[in-house]
């Protein structure tokens, strides 16, 4: 693997902006494109970094099977989801006495694009070459259900349970989608961006108020007495 000088500006050897080529990943991408065919919706390659793929939602499971059986990605790293909508609560640092600010909640996807608010993504690695890929898949907003891949990668079982609980995404064919962490009667899906972080909601962010008024009187009064 080529060693990439991360900070090109301070590296005296790279005076001109050097174009980094990543032959291994480029040929891998060509191989994947050939194997997945029209199931591959988009791809994104960052040389000497990583490779992102996006597959069609209806071809999620079959694509994973192809990746494992044909392309040798036997190692299952993780599976999770991203909610691309920016949080309407910001960082939970609003002053509760002020009217809530209006925030931009337009949905903007990351690498390899996408058309929905929620995306499930997974990473699998080829243990022979040690090269991994990310596979993203769009999840329908109205009906967030995907095929379960626990029978392709057995390790996905727990990861799908976690994703189901945290994002409210269903996995068709999963044997047991019980909650892993939260009580079964817990309402809401905590890692969705529209789920408020309650710790920041019930108590105002201490950065807002610098001086706490003394009990029984304002700050100015106590200053006068002194």
């Amino acid at each position: 693997m080529p060693v990439l000088p991360l900070n090109e500006k301070e590296n005296p050897l790279s005076s001109a902006p050097e174009v980094i080529t990543d032959v291994a990943r480029e040929s891998l991408l060509a191989e994947i494109t050939a194997a997945l065919g029209d199931r591959l919706a988009a791809s994104h390659l960052r040389p000497a970094d990583d490779l992102w793929l996006r597959v069609r939602t209806d071809a999620w499971k079959s694509s994973m099977r192809t990746l494992r059986d044909t392309l040798g990605f036997h190692y299952f790293c993780f599976l999770s989801a991203i909610d691309w909508m920016p949080s309407p609560f910001g960082r939970g640092e609003d002053d509760p006495t002020e009217p809530a600010p209006v925030r931009d909640t337009t949905i903007r996807s990351g690498y390899a694009g996408g058309g929905t608010r929620m995306q499930v993504f997974a990473r699998v690695v080829n243990p022979a070459t040690h090269v991994g890929v990310f596979i993203k898949v769009d999840v329908d907003d109205a009906q967030p259900v995907l095929e379960s891949i626990h029978d392709v990668y057995a390790g996905a079982n727990w990861h799908e349970r976690e994703t189901h609980e945290m994002f409210g995404i269903g996995f068709d064919g999963h044997p047991d989608l019980r909650n892993m962490y939260l009580p079964m009667d817990f309402e809401g899906h905590p890692l969705r961006k529209d789920f408020p972080l309650l710790a920041r909601m019930i108590k105002p962010w201490p950065g807002i108020v610098d001086v706490e008024p003394l009990p029984g009187g304002g700050v100015e009064e106590s200053a006068d007495e002194a």
């Binding site: 991203i82 909610d83 909650n179 962490y181």
Partner: protein, 394 residues
């Protein structure tokens, strides 16, 4: 035709059928209903608050299901309202025995997004502290291993010698358990005076400790009887479940993220070996960890001799804003592959952080590995898989 049919003559077959019938009658008379055994959440064998529900048939496990969530702290959600430098104090607490190693991949991911590289000196010191936290972590595992089987002595040795390493980490960082020492662009401080000589002396002690554990535990007949051939995880199962670290290498997969990827760290500047074991049983997993501890002491020794001079911090702005992008960095932590998938929107804090912790995957194999084993083996298999609850629940 079954095997018994082929081997037996007619008379013998009749006798066999009769004996089978007698056995089944006896079984009906002595019929014991299956029993559900609850282990934990507060059980000394479970390294924290893991609960295991096991369905038993006599002494054998029909199925076993770990039940997590007693220590879920929601770091992925909390990270969304923290700034980048604040996140390290959260992720410190994921695997609390090797805290410094948790910070490194997150900082590396942020540095990758920013296009900053730490100076060579701090890369070196980072690697040394990373390996020290591995030694501190795994030496406790090695001592604790004996306790799971009723051998009390090794744990005292382990706590004694781990203390030396924790003192070193405290000397360099100021924190015994949660250093919070890694910064985007370098480290908080340089090493204190006299630290290098002290570390070398401790590494000598740790190598002696490894030899002691080798003699006391790994050569022990009871230990071998309880570990060899128990909890075998074949190579393809290990890969499918995403086992990592020593658990994967004990199943014969030669893969170490310290060696097999290029990171701005100093592992490639030392001469060391990746140990694997073909067996995949409990003994193999423990043995690989023991060898890894020895290798770690070697790495630390070599890196101490070659620390380059220079600054420990790269030039980074005071208020850190990370440019938009997505980055993934995983390192070979004491428990296995630990990675962070950081999505940035060009703000003060991350947009989304996915924490891929090693123990979560390592534990997800437990329902598979525990099926059909005897009750006392539950303890040894879980001990050899080596998980830390904070690392499962996050």
């Amino acid at each position: 035709m079954s095997l018994t049919d082929r081997l037996l003559g007619d008379r013998q077959r009749l006798a066999y059928i009769a004996s089978q019938a007698a056995d089944s009658r006896l079984n009906v008379e002595l019929e014991t209903e299956g029993m559900t055994l609850n282990i934990g959440p507060q059980h000394p064998a479970t390294h924290g608050t893991l609960r295991i529900i096991a369905r038993l048939d006599g002494e054998q496990v029909v199925w076993a299901e770990p039940s997590c969530g007693y220590m879920h702290r929601g770091y992925e959600k909390l990270a969304e309202v923290r700034t980048y430098p604040q996140v390290t104090s959260l992720v410190n607490r994921i695997d609390w025995l090797g805290s410094f190693a948790n910070e490194v991949p997150f900082i590396l991911a942020a540095e990758k997004l920013m296009g900053v590289e730490a100076p060579a000196r701090s890369q070196h010191i980072r690697t040394i502290l990373f390996e020290l936290s591995r030694i501190a972590n795994v030496s406790l595992f090695l001592g604790d291993l004996g306790v799971q089987m009723g051998a009390i002595t090794p744990v005292f040795f382990a706590f004694r010698d781990r203390e030396y390493v924790l003192n070193l980490i405290e000397g360099a960082t100021g924190g015994r358990f949660h250093p919070n020492f890694d910064r985007i662009g370098g480290l908080k401080d340089d090493l204190p005076k006299g630290w290098i000589a002290e570390t070398k002396a401790v590494m000598k002690k740790l190598r002696k400790f490894c030899d002691q554990i080798d003699d006391l535990l790994f050569g022990n007949e009871i230990f071998q009887a309880r570990m060899r051939g128990i909890g075998v995880i074949p190579r393809d199962v290990a890969l499918q479940y995403g086992l990592s670290g020593a658990n994967l290498r004990a199943s014969g997969v030669d893969w170490d993220l310290r060696r097999d990827q290029s990171l701005p760290m100093a592992w490639n500047k030392a001469d060391w070996k990746v140990w694997t074991h073909p067996d995949g049983d409990s003994y193999a997993r423990c043995w690989v960890r023991l060898q890894e501890t020895r290798e770690s002491t070697k790495i630390v020794d070599q890196l101490l001799d070659t620390i380059p001079s220079g600054p420990i911090m790269a030039k980074v702005p005071k208020i850190i804003k990370v440019p938009e992008g997505e980055a993934w960095v995983s390192t070979e932590n004491p428990l296995g592959e630990m990675g962070y998938y950081v999505v940035s929107r060009g703000e003060l804090g991350p947009f989304r952080v996915k924490i891929r912790s090693a123990s979560f995957n390592n534990m997800s194999v437990a329902p598979w590995a525990l099926r059909g084993v005897y009750v006392p083996d539950i303890v040894t298999i879980l001990a050899s898989l080596y998980f830390i609850l904070g690392d499962i629940d996050r």
